[in-house]
Amino acid sequence: MNLDILLRSALAIGIIALGVGAYWLLNQRLLVRARNNVFTLFKTFPNKPVIVYFTTPDCVPCKTIQRPALDRVTTLFGEKLQVVEIDATERPDLAKVWGVMSVPTTFLLDSRGEARYVNNGVARLEKLMEQLQTL
């Protein structure tokens, strides 16, 4: 009985790990997609970290949380960082090629133009700062 429960628990953990792994792979795929589509935004990359921020006019958390967080990192990093804001309703083509399914979505690109992080949904200031420190 106990061995059966242990085996089933192990199996459940394995299946959950597989699910988490699949989600991680999906995010990696999104990053690869972003890397392949950097040219859709830049002819020449600015040689500094870039945040690509997808939003829409009626997205309230974009205005109340995401925008202020981005303003704050822009203030803190100054010329060392560029934020590119894209209205997904005006540029659905870009939202599509970058694989954006909801807003806000933020991609963090390092100074070589490599997409390093993707945040589906609101990315708070602390999270953005943490991610930017590693770029």
Binding site: I5, R8, I15, Y23, V60, P61, T89, M101, S102
Partner: protein, 165 residues
């Protein structure tokens, strides 16, 4: 022809509670090998489908919300796709339970795990597969499916606060 109709207020905390309870009970049913518990989940989802409310939403309404353990997350959304999603879940859980009681353990637990996976995707990823199916059926003008996703959102993705159609 599908028309953009006014959205309603949908408390996503009730939906999330429902999903989390379904995940936990199904995991317990699997680990402890309790087909009866899986059948109970199916029954509650069935009752919820009939009453047009999240089956385990009562836990949120009577315990979690009054005690402040979970705050309301009221968004402009269509309730119909979520109801449809619960019906789909009920069908999977019902079929899974029947399979388990008939001795088809592999089929039964696979169906239960599909429900766990879809509920997890909804609870943790904000993507409702049943809702996406609903919107696809609406797109193909299937009778009874006439709602469109909130403007600016991928069909099935959880809308954000303040979004309106």
């Amino acid at each position: 022809m599908t028309l953009q109709q006014p959205l309603q207020k949908v408390d996503h905390s009730a939906l999330k509670t429902n999903q989390l309870v379904i995940i936990i009970l199904n995991l317990l049913a699997f680990i402890l090998n309790l087909p009866m518990l899986a059948a109970f989940v199916a029954l509650v989802m069935g009752i919820g489908s009939v009453l047009k409310t999240p089956g385990f939403g009562i836990i949120y309404k009577s315990i979690l919300r009054p005690r402040g353990w979970m705050k309301p997350d009221v968004l402009d959304d269509n309730p119909e796709p979520h109801r449809f999603s619960q019906i789909v879940g009920f069908v999977f859980m019902g079929a899974g339970s029947v399979a388990l009681f008939l001795g088809s353990n592999v089929l039964g637990w696979v169906l239960v795990w599909i429900v766990i996976a879809l509920a997890s995707l909804n609870a943790f990823g904000g993507f409702c597969v049943g809702c996406a199916v609903y919107y696809w059926l609406a797109r193909f003008n299937v009778p009874g499916f006439n709602k469109q996703p909130p403007a600016g959102f991928f069909p099935g993705m959880k809308p954000k606060a303040g979004a309106s159609g």
